[in-house]
């Protein structure tokens, strides 16, 4: 049970990073930390006591396996996270070239 609470604390650490840091790159790292914590949470859901990796090999067809469905969901989620981070970084690089700074307090063209 303590593991799930630690996972949630990692999510909150990432959220703290997004909310209170001023540098654009630190905000992106905060989002990445939140994403890793969700992936960890999913893998912990699918754990079965004493189970092995869920692949059927010859001679071991009847062993106890951990749940394979969260593992498939996590593979998809990791790839989605890759795409999200890549697009955030590309926009951040272009913002640096246009505004000359990474500080979000200076990037304030749109108001009101």
């Amino acid at each position: 049970m303590i593991l799930y609470i630690l996972c949630f604390i990692l999510f909150l650490i990432g959220l703290y990073g997004v909310v209170s840091k001023r540098n654009l790159i630190k905000i992106i790292i905060g989002i990445a930390i939140m994403e890793y914590s969700i992936n960890l949470f999913f893998i912990m859901i699918g754990y079965v006591e004493g189970g092995t990796a869920p692949i059927i090999t010859k001679g071991f067809e009847q062993a106890k396996f951990v749940d394979p469905l969260p593992q498939a969901m996590i593979l998809t989620s990791i790839v989605i996270g890759l795409a999200t981070t890549a697009l955030l970084l590309a926009v951040a690089i272009r913002l640096y070239k246009k505004y000359g700074t990474f500080d979000i307090n200076d990037i304030k063209d749109l108001k009101g």
Binding site: I55, T57, E61, I78, V79, A90, K97
Partner: protein, 146 residues
């Protein structure tokens, strides 16, 4: 971005083919061991990224490389859709993405229907996509001064 010293360049020349082959092994054995299309594709892209990091930013060669990678990525996804759509025509019922090839014996390399073919196609796509992302972030196209 400048290149690195001569020792690093020689060692990457020796190691990059081995990394590429390892990625290919993970893709092809995707239905027997952990891994599959995504993980193997990222390892294959790692070989490309290592070459770029060691040799620096040779701009003209990389731009041509980027066109080829974009073609490869789109062709791989179209291949995936065509193989999945063939299931519509070949199998008896009209289901999309059905497993219509021979399903072989457990544990052989050629078994489990269309899954190894889909793994190879997905691996090619992920390799092309990750390498395109890296090249796009490294080769910055200067459009401000037109």
């Amino acid at each position: 971005m400048k290149g690195m010293t001569i020792i690093v360049k020689k060692i990457t020349q020796i190691i990059c083919p081995v990394i590429f082959m390892f990625g290919l092994y993970i893709i092809i054995h995707g239905h027997l061991t952990p891994g599959g299309g995504f993980a193997g594709g990222v390892i294959m892209a790692g070989a490309f990224i290592l070459q770029i990091l060691a040799n620096g930013n040779i701009l003209s060669g990389l731009r041509k490389e980027e066109h080829n990678l974009e073609f490869m990525e789109s062709a791989a996804i179209l291949g995936f859709l065509i193989i999945a759509g063939l299931g519509l025509l070949i199998s008896g019922s009209f289901v999309f993405f059905s497993n219509f090839l021979n399903k072989g014996e457990l544990g052989n390399l050629i078994s489990a229907g269309i899954i190894p073919i889909e793994n190879i196609v997905v691996g090619a796509e992920v390799c092309a996509a990750v390498a395109t992302i890296f090249i796009a972030l490294v080769v910055y196209k200067d459009e401000e001064k037109k």
